[in-house]
């Protein structure tokens, strides 16, 4: 698959070389293509979504595995996993009709009043933009992080908890011990969530504003690699245009592979620890 993409993008690789990754112009009319704004948009929207989703996801997981009584655990974990089953276009529609108006009329003016000089909240409050994309993504990533983390926490041997209680630890201290024991597994869950966020297309396209620009402000519209592909692939008429889009797909592919390798390594290191630790 990688080879196929490479051969199809040779035209643009030859024409733009390394500049494809560093140029900020994406101009189908003049046939100049640079991917930096999309790479930036993909990484920033995914990272922002993780910043929102990690505390929430881990919180839900800890609650479900450590604190919740059994009768509450089942329906709650079912509900969080249900979130993962909603098609992304539905998230996108919800984003357009609920999230974006709320951001535009309430949240963004509030942020601008509170932090008038912050570079992160400059520009007209469109509603559509990086912030909306990050919030939608965080909701989509949340069930992945929380359900995998819950499984990881559940697989922490009970002897760890019992030992901690035996030493007189409080519930909070026990939770901390369990978390540190499951550290690398939790990291794996987060990385899988990141993978999902990077590849997400439809919901992001619908709320991010689709502008190839790099801006510090979270209120400004942006663009992601997956959105560009979804938007422009069908009508890309010239060979160079098509080839640039395929190269963009190749870049996205490589980034996802790197993340997956990273996740794999983390899972391996967890497994190794498991074998070393006395059961």
């Amino acid at each position: 698959m990688g080879w196929e993409m490479y051969t199809n993008s040779v035209l643009s690789i030859r024409k733009f070389g390394f500049g494809f990754l560093t140029s900020t112009t994406w101009d189908p009319f003049s046939q100049v293509f640079g991917a930096l704004p999309m790479i930036y948009g993909t990484l920033i929207s995914s990272l922002l979504s993780l910043i929102i989703a990690i505390p929430l996801g881990l919180g839900v997981a800890v609650f479900l595995s450590e604190l919740a009584p059994a009768w509450l655990e089942k329906p709650l974990s079912f509900l969080t996993e249900l979130l993962a089953g909603i098609p992304s276009v539905i998230y996108g529609l919800w984003g357009i009709f609920v999230l974006v108006p709320w951001l535009r009329d309430t949240v963004e003016p509030f942020l601008q009043n509170k932090f008038p000089n912050s570079p992160f909240f400059q520009g007209a409050p469109y509603g559509f933009g990086m912030l909306a994309a990050a919030i939608i993504l965080s909701i989509m990533v949340l069930p992945i992080i929380s359900s995998i983390s819950r499984d990881v926490l559940k697989s922490v041997p009970n002897s760890q908890r019992e030992a901690a209680y035996a030493l007189g630890a409080t519930k909070w201290e026990v939770t901390k011990i369990v978390l540190s024991y499951a550290k690398s597994g939790l990291l794996g869950a987060i990385i899988l969530g990141l993978g999902r966020a990077i590849g997400e297309t439809m919901a992001v396209t619908m709320v991010i504003g689709n502008r190839p620009q790099i801006s510090a402000s979270l209120l400004d519209p942006g663009y992601t690699m997956a959105s560009v592909l979804a938007n422009e692939f069908t009508e890309a008429a010239s060979d160079l245009y098509l080839s640039s889009l395929i190269e963009l797909a190749l870049v996205l592919f490589i980034i996802t592979i790197i993340i997956n390798i990273f996740a794999r390594l983390l899972v391996w290191s967890t497994e190794r620890k498991w074998k070393l630790s006395p059961m």
Partner: protein, 347 residues
């Protein structure tokens, strides 16, 4: 007994007739804009003649590629082929490509200003400067001057545009390039461009969604969509200096005005067309076919379908919110269709 034999004979001839006709299957691919009227045409045409036509609405770019590769009998595109694409076609297929204007679409400029009401007036330069980001407020003196007697709010103009490649964008940027030298130089005319300002949304419904929700928004969408959803739209100043509302008549008028100066290959971009009542932002969608078709049966079926589509087929246009081709353009199309050959032989 006689009646029985007769009825069997009739039945058999019926079956043979159907199977002979059903052998011809045409395939096409391309524009999504054309898809609604194509489905209607193919259905009607199949019922009356038995010829089956399959169409994949994969986008104009895809249609051109499939036709160039020779996998389909015809392509459909909202933008004409570029010279480069025509050369590629010729070297790959060994024959020229014929452009046939097949249906027309108008582009409405809609907006969301609840206090101002329907039908505000804009001219090309003002519209271009809004899309260039040079006019940023609705109460800009240039907008106010065009609309005496209306009260514009001191609101930011939020520009919306299509994020994916689209024929609507091609028509719109073609108009802006004609009326604003700065637009032509900085941005240009293409099915997707590097927009100086604004929000990109996927599909006509995406752009309409931004406009419907955001006070102060402006955007361009297909006429059909604006009509179906009762959105307010601008009157645009045409080449003759009149402010024209977009509808089927003013769009067909523009085509009629342009048909007097049609280029020989019919690759006519008819934005800003001359004519007293011509609406300036509209265009053709094309069916593209090879001039020489190897398969005789396919060539014959395709030619009769095309002749039907550019004449009788046009009656279906307005019910699906397309503008029909005016008579002079239909005539030009028929002349072109008559040039199609199969292995060098006239059909």
């Amino acid at each position: 007994m006689k009646i029985k034999i007769l009825s069997i004979i009739i039945l058999l001839t019926g079956i043979i007739a159907i199977s002979v006709n059903a052998q011809v299957k045409l395939t096409g691919a391309g524009s999504t804009f054309d898809y609604p009227i194509f489905s209607k045409w193919f259905d009607t045409y199949n019922k009356t003649t038995g010829v089956q036509i399959n169409y994949a609405s994969i986008g104009s770019g895809g249609g051109i590629q499939q036709l160039t590769a020779g996998t389909v009998d015809f392509g459909a595109s909202d933008a004409p082929l570029t010279d480069e694409q025509m050369n590629t076609f010729k070297s790959k297929r060994g024959t020229d490509v014929i452009h046939l204007p097949i249906i027309m679409g108008g582009v409405a400029i809609t907006y969301n200003l609840p206090t101002v009401g329907q039908g505000i007036k804009l001219d090309g330069e003002t519209l271009a400067d809004i899309y260039l980001g040079k006019i940023t407020k609705w109460n800009d003196p240039r907008i106010v001057k065009l609309n005496p007697g209306r009260n514009f709010p001191n609101k930011a103009i939020i520009v919306a545009h299509r994020s994916e490649g689209s024929g609507t964008t091609f028509i719109f940027t073609s108009y802006l390039s004609k009326v604003s030298p700065e637009w032509a130089k900085k941005v240009g005319n293409s099915i997707s461009v590097n927009w100086p300002v604004g929000l990109g949304a996927k599909g006509t419904e995406g752009v309409a969604g931004i406009i419907a929700q955001t006070q102060g928004a402006i955007g361009y969408i297909e006429l059909a969509y604006a009509k179906q959803n009762n959105l307010p739209y601008c009157q645009i100043k045409n080449e003759a200096g009149n402010f024209i509302e977009v509808n089927f008549n003013t769009v067909s008028e523009a085509a009629a005005g342009a048909s007097k100066h049609m280029p020989g290959d019919l690759r006519a971009v008819i934005t800003n067309a001359p004519g007293k009542n011509s609406y300036p932002i509209c265009g053709f969608s094309w069916i593209v076919v090879p001039k020489d078709i190897k398969n005789y049966e396919h060539a014959k079926a395709l030619v009769s379908f095309l002749k039907w589509a550019v004449t009788k087929g046009q009656n279906d246009a307005t019910s699906l919110y397309y503008a029909p081709l005016p008579k002079p353009v239909q005539k030009l199309d028929l002349e072109k269709i008559n040039l199609i050959t199969s292995n060098g032989k006239k059909l």
